[in-house]
């Protein structure tokens, strides 16, 4: 039972990391990037391509994947999302969804229906104190927490992070302060893309990389996102841990309900708190 809880908590770290990628983009550009799940999947496959087929070492492969993730994020922002600035929100939503279809199509085209386990996934179980944990999940959790702390520091202490927060608050104010809003958009998409790469590496260790991995990542990331609120970084972290725990508990008692539990939790929370646990309440005027 304790092991189940710890395992849920650790996997929750990965979920939180997936959700952080959404939050980062949403915070600055108010776009919900539904292609994020497939982005994770395609980067995972790319890593597999680099290591297993091209034969590069792990430590060369991971930075390469992170860089290409940033590049992909940048390209998506520049080519698909920026032309839609000012369009109704359904267009943007459909655009990111169609991007995810496109990425999935590329995955299926290039890698078919192969599934694989990343070659550097440590096998067996680690014993930390009284608990047995799966090594992949433990590593992911540590990385997720590290990235969360890094991100908090970025938003609090660096100029880039501060400008991102200004852009999130108000585009016009940001422009009048001399912040290049478009550059901030590009930057946040690039960072989100590199997050997707990190998620790809970590999720490849916890889950098996299959063609449905993108849907899986989306299916875990969205409930976490809504639970924490669309624009809250601590919310994403807390939401990830909660969903991870609840899912682990639920599948311990009711194994058939594993996929559906995050959505049900999300629905209940939304009925009670429409903006998520930590989300920013928007006051609307006519």
């Amino acid at each position: 039972m304790d092991d189940v809880l710890i395992q849920g908590l650790l996997v929750g770290g990965v979920y939180a990391l997936i959700a952080l990628g959404f939050v980062l983009v949403f915070k600055s550009s108010l776009v919900l990037n539904l292609a994020h799940g497939e982005l994770i999947a395609i980067l995972s496959y790319f890593l597999y391509q680099i290591i297993a087929i091209w034969g590069l070492s792990d430590w060369a492969g991971i930075p390469l994947v992170v860089a290409s993730g940033a590049l992909l994020g940048l390209l998506m922002e520049r080519l698909a999302v920026r032309p839609l600035l000012g369009q109704p929100f359904l267009s943007l939503l459909m655009m990111t969804l169609m991007l995810s279809f496109l990425l999935k199509g590329v995955v299926v085209l290039v890698w078919g229906s192969d599934s694989f386990v990343l070659p550097f996934t440590p096998a067996g179980q680690w014993t930390i104190g009284p608990f047995n944990v799966i090594p992949g999940a433990a590593i992911s959790f540590v990385v997720a927490v590290a990235i969360f702390l890094l991100l908090t520091a970025l938003f609090r202490y660096t100029k880039v992070g501060l400008s991102m927060r200004v852009v999130a608050a108000d585009h016009e104010v940001a422009q009048s302060l001399g912040i290049r809003v478009r550059r901030v958009f590009s930057l946040s998409w690039a960072i989100s893309g590199s997050f997707a790469a990190v998620c790809g590496v970590l999720a490849g260790m916890v889950l098996t990389v299959t063609p449905v991995m993108g849907d899986l990542a989306l299916g875990k990331g969205l409930p976490v996102l809504l639970l924490g609120g669309l624009n809250s970084i601590p919310g994403a972290m807390a939401g990830g841990l909660i969903i991870g725990l609840v899912e682990a508990l639920g599948s311990y008692y009711q194994p058939g309900m594993k996929e559906i539990i995050p959505w049900i939790v999300m629905l209940i929370i939304l009925l009670v708190r429409p903006y998520g646990l930590f989300g920013e309440r928007r006051i609307e005027r006519i």
Binding site: F26, L32, A80, P83, L84, Q87, F89, L90, S91, L93, M94, M95, L97, M98, L99, F101, L102, K104, G105, V106, V108, L109, G112, S113, D215, G219, L222, P223, L225, L226, L230, G256, E259, I260, W263, I264, M266, L267, L270, L271, P274, Y275, G276, E284, R285, I286
Partner: protein, 347 residues
């Protein structure tokens, strides 16, 4: 805009859907054409027409929810499943008449829509979209569970018979055409009533609508109910067309297809919905024709091509429409008509 020299002189003319004699003639000719299509088209294309009809009905539901009332739904396929399973359960397992289950399918789907529409009062935008995605997964998960719904294997659905003989494809196409025409007429009329105007007011600014005395909760729920009712009717048609349904038919991608249809056709117009359904189904038809060609050209990719191609082609078509023609095909058609009505003057 009316053709040159034609003026409305009576209020009835102002309210009519079909305005001129030429339009009546065109409408009659189009209906006759569509009916006779069932007689001489090869079976493959009759089935295609049936699917266009079914998807049109479901997309009309999305049109009312999203196009008119601004409540985005990404769970339309699941509501279709509710309708399809209602008729499969009642007509298939309990021997009810399919004609009796037609309204029941719509009602069950509509009630399902009400349940998932309740959060719409307090949340909107992205949060609402995600709630409807949750609806898709929760409903489809629930349908897979009980064994009286056939779990993952699905249920058999009896064929509809008129006068003792089961309908063949061509006859089913006439049935689909009839149902689709009635639903189109309903959707078109809802748009023109007080309810339809309430929907539009809520879409444009729900706070302002509430201040003007529109009951937001009731209006949004009504939009969900009507939209999902349409989905249920489409599900009824689909179930009786396929004669066997299983949960894998009603995927999340299908829900997205319906959204793509109203985007391609143009938000807020019923004629656009039909066009959008036609375009999407044409793309769907293109895939099996294009894939052998591509498979010959790139033999190393071979078997993955059909699956990948359908995803990529669909995505590309929708992306192109969003980027190049964001107002949709219907808007373009209107522009062309306007141009020829005004020709040779530009105003």
């Amino acid at each position: 805009m009316m053709p040159s020299g034609v003026f409305n002189t009576r209020p009835q003319q102002d309210m009519a859907i079909v305005r001129t004699r030429a339009q009546w003639l065109l409408l009659a000719a189009a209906l006759i054409f569509l009916v006779t299509l069932g007689l001489y088209l090869p079976q493959e294309w009759v089935v295609w027409l049936i699917m266009v009809g079914i998807y049109t009905v479901a997309a009309l539901g999305i049109h009312i929810m999203t196009g008119l009332c601004g409540q985005f739904s990404m769970g339309q396929a699941a509501f279709m499943a509710l309708g399809a399973y209602t008729t499969a359960f009642l007509a298939g397992s309990h021997g009810w008449s399919p004609w009796l289950t037609l309204p029941l399918s719509g009602l069950v789907a509509g009630l399902g829509g009400l349940v998932f529409g309740i959060p719409a009062l307090r949340i909107k935008g992205f949060y609402l979209v995600l709630t409807t995605i949750a609806a898709q997964f929760v409903i489809m998960w629930a349908i897979r569970q009980p064994d009286w719904l056939g779990e993952t294997y699905g249920l058999d659905v009896p064929a509809i018979s008129i006068g003792g003989a089961a309908l063949k494809d061509a006859q089913f196409w006439w049935l689909t055409l009839g149902v689709a025409a009635v639903m189109l007429f309903l959707a078109k009329n809802i748009q023109r009533t007080a309810t339809g105007r309430k929907f539009v007011a809520v879409r444009d600014n729900d706070l302002a609508a509430e201040v003007m005395g529109i009951n937001l909760f009731r209006t949004k729920l009504l939009a969900f109910f009507i939209g999902c009712f349409f989905a249920g009717i489409a599900g009824w048609l689909w179930a009786h067309h396929l004669l066997r349904i299983n949960p894998d038919l009603f995927t999340f991608s299908l829900s997205l297809w319906f959204l793509a249809m109203i985007i391609i056709g143009g938000m807020g117009s019923t004629a656009g919905v039909v066009m959008g359904a036609g375009v999407i189904m044409l793309v769907d038809k293109l895939v099996p024709r294009l894939s052998p060609v591509l498979a010959d050209a790139f033999p190393s990719l071979g078997y993955q091509i059909p699956a990948a191609l359908s995803l990529i082609l669909f995505a590309l078509v929708v992306i192109l429409f969003i980027l190049i023609e964001p107002k949709g095909l219907y808007h373009r058609l209107q522009r062309i008509k306007l141009y020829y009505r005004l020709n040779p003057f530009s105003y």
